[in-house]
């Protein structure tokens, strides 16, 4: 396994562009070598997951890059941070607050856009189909590859900023066309048509897909061509939580799957998986680990809520006030829009806490006394128990709103019968 650097890349490694670029090049080249890449390729944008505080080491690393003159070479957005710098909803120790802030500021100082959202693709960062990029955060990676058709591997903490500083990534995996073909046919044609317009279906379907497919690439056949962007977002986020899904295809919907045959590269699938609608309720139940009849909180917005999702929430609230803590996580660009239109104040009056820049599973935000919580997010359902201690009940957005009125669990079970 050898990775060949160009003359220019070798010069960068030797310090031609400063200490930060040199360190980034050493790390990137070494990682590329371990992964079997033969070379580095240019990327046109990056999305960084490494600026959320998990401990002091990441702060020192970010500051070392910044002090070494690190500047991103391509347009770069930031995933969530460890603090809410807009609405200040995070409880932190003094040390934790200081370090989380230092980490966020170091990445901003390197020229990353302070988007602080896990849905950058809904905050104006949308690379074109076929473009090579370096993105982190599992749901953003899945959306970027699958829905936008741009090409990235799952770049994690440390590596994402190295790629951004150098404008380069190791040439392997999903950067290469031959690795993007579906090999598994996932046949959901037996799904009743009445379910397909319902948002509540997609986290459930995505969670099942991720558990079933592991790290293979599948093409889903049998969904409606008018799937919304928020449904694709929910499907991808759930699938990337339960499995190692970096790319999925949906026939007639996603850009590399105009047809099932095209997604399969006109070859026979190596395996075929069929969804039995009789299993749907049991699959839905995998998203819940609590069976309580009362909930203590609601959490929405993983990935971050879009403006359109806030519209749906406002319609369902219809001016009513919720009776339990109710959190919605979103990006600061959406908060600005809600504030400019006077909607943020109305939501607050309804008892809704808007969390910006971060989210309730990566920062201490939820009430300290843990209990049961309802969410419409497959990703929250997956990470909530281990990260927060809360038990989870999965429901539709409407279920969440209705249950939040008094705390008594109300779910529309007819959907699944």
């Amino acid at each position: 396994m050898t990775l060949a650097l160009t003359e220019r890349e070798r010069a960068v490694a030797d310090g031609a562009d400063g200490a930060a670029a040199s360190m980034a090049m050493r790390i990137l080249a070494e990682t590329g070598r371990l992964l079997g890449a033969k070379r580095l390729i240019p990327v046109v944008s990056a999305h960084i997951d490494g600026a959320v505080y998990h401990g002091d080491s990441g702060v020192y690393f970010g500051e070392r890059l910044r002090e070494g003159g690190g500047k991103v070479a391509v347009p770069t957005t930031l995933n969530v941070g460890g603090l809410d710098l807009v609405n200040h909803t995070v409880r932190q120790t003094t040390h934790g607050h200081d370090m989380a802030l230092r980490l966020m500021r170091a990445y901003e100082a390197m020229g990353c856009r302070p988007t602080w959202t896990c849905a950058p693709y809904q905050a104006g960062h949308r690379p074109k189909a076929g473009e090579q990029v370096a993105w982190g955060e599992s749901n953003a990676v899945a959306f970027c590859n699958s829905v936008l058709g741009a090409r990235t591997n799952r770049y994690g903490d440390f590596l994402d900023i190295c790629c951004a500083i150098l404008g380069r990534a190791p040439d392997y995996g999903l950067h290469r066309a031959e690795n993007r073909r579906a090999t598994v046919l996932v046949d959901v044609t037996a799904l009743p048509d009445r379910l397909k317009p319902l948002d509540v279906l997609y986290p459930v379907l995505g969670y099942w897909y991720g558990q079933t497919i592991g790290n293979s690439i599948g093409v889903v056949a049998g969904l409606a061509p008018d799937m919304t962007e928020d449904q694709l977002k929910a499907f991808g986020a759930a699938s990337a939580s339960s499995g190692a899904v970096g790319l999925f295809h949906i026939a007639g919907v996603t850009p590399e799957a105009p047809t099932v045959e095209a997604a399969l590269g006109n070859r026979k699938p190596e395996s075929v998986i069929r969804l039995n609608p009789a299993d749907l309720r049991a699959i839905r139940d995998r998203l819940s680990n609590a069976t309580a009849s009362r909930i203590d909180a609601v959490a929405l917005g993983s990935p971050h809520f879009s403006n359109e999702e806030f519209r749906q929430l406002e319609t369902l609230l219809a001016g009513r006030r919720v009776g339990i803590p109710f959190f919605v996580c979103t990006g600061r660009d959406v908060v600005r829009k809600l504030e400019a239109e006077g909607r943020a104040a109305t939501l607050k009056e309804s008892g809704v806490t808007i969390v910006a820049d971060t989210c309730v599973v990566v920062a201490p935000i939820l009430p300290e006394k843990v209990g049961a919580l309802m969410t419409n997010s497959g990703k929250f359902a997956h990470y909530m128990p281990s990260n927060t201690g809360y038990g989870v009940i999965y429901g539709s957005l409407e279920d969440c709103v209705e249950s939040a009125m008094s705390g008594a669990v109300r779910r529309d079970e007819q959907v699944w019968s």
Binding site: F61, D157, F158
Partner: protein, 143 residues
């Protein structure tokens, strides 16, 4: 297991180095992020069969690679605080934990050997054995 066979055990070197320690051979794959406490090195996931053992100072043998890419961060944090394993033995190439080791080395927090050893050959290693790892990837039992 004979001493002779032990001395033939050799991993493919991902990151070179020397180490000595007791083997902790995980019975299931683990995601360091969410699975290992970054402050102590203890296995924090109560559903993991090796909970609550600590990875600190062990020659950690992993049967598979799963989980979040934030595991690189947890690995770097363990290295910085001196709570990391003495060596990693992985079944297949994977950049996530190795990346945490590389970052630690760049930051001056030390380094540890990272070796590849296919699962079939991992059978020669058992939890509690004391082994020494050489620069060239040789894994030898220590009395």
């Amino acid at each position: 297991m004979s001493a002779e066979r032990r001395s033939n055990l050799r991993g493919d070197v991902q990151i070179a180095g020397t180490a000595e320690g007791k083997v902790l051979k995980l019975r299931q794959p683990i995601s360091f992020w969410g699975g290992v406490d970054q402050k102590s090195g203890r296995i924090a996931d109560p559903r993991h069969p090796d909970h609550p053992a600590s990875v600190k100072g062990t020659v950690l043998v992993l049967p598979g690679m799963i989980g979040s890419s934030s595991s690189s961060y947890v690995m770097a944090e363990l290295m910085m605080d001196g709570n990391a394993p003495a060596a990693l033995i992985l079944p297949e190439p994977d950049a996530i934990l190795a990346l945490g080791v590389m970052v630690a080395a760049e930051m001056g927090w030390g380094s540890i050997p990272v070796l590849l050893l296919p699962r079939a050959e991992q059978a020669a290693l058992e939890t509690g054995m004391r082994v020494r790892i050489a620069e060239n990837g040789l894994i030898q039992g220590v009395k």
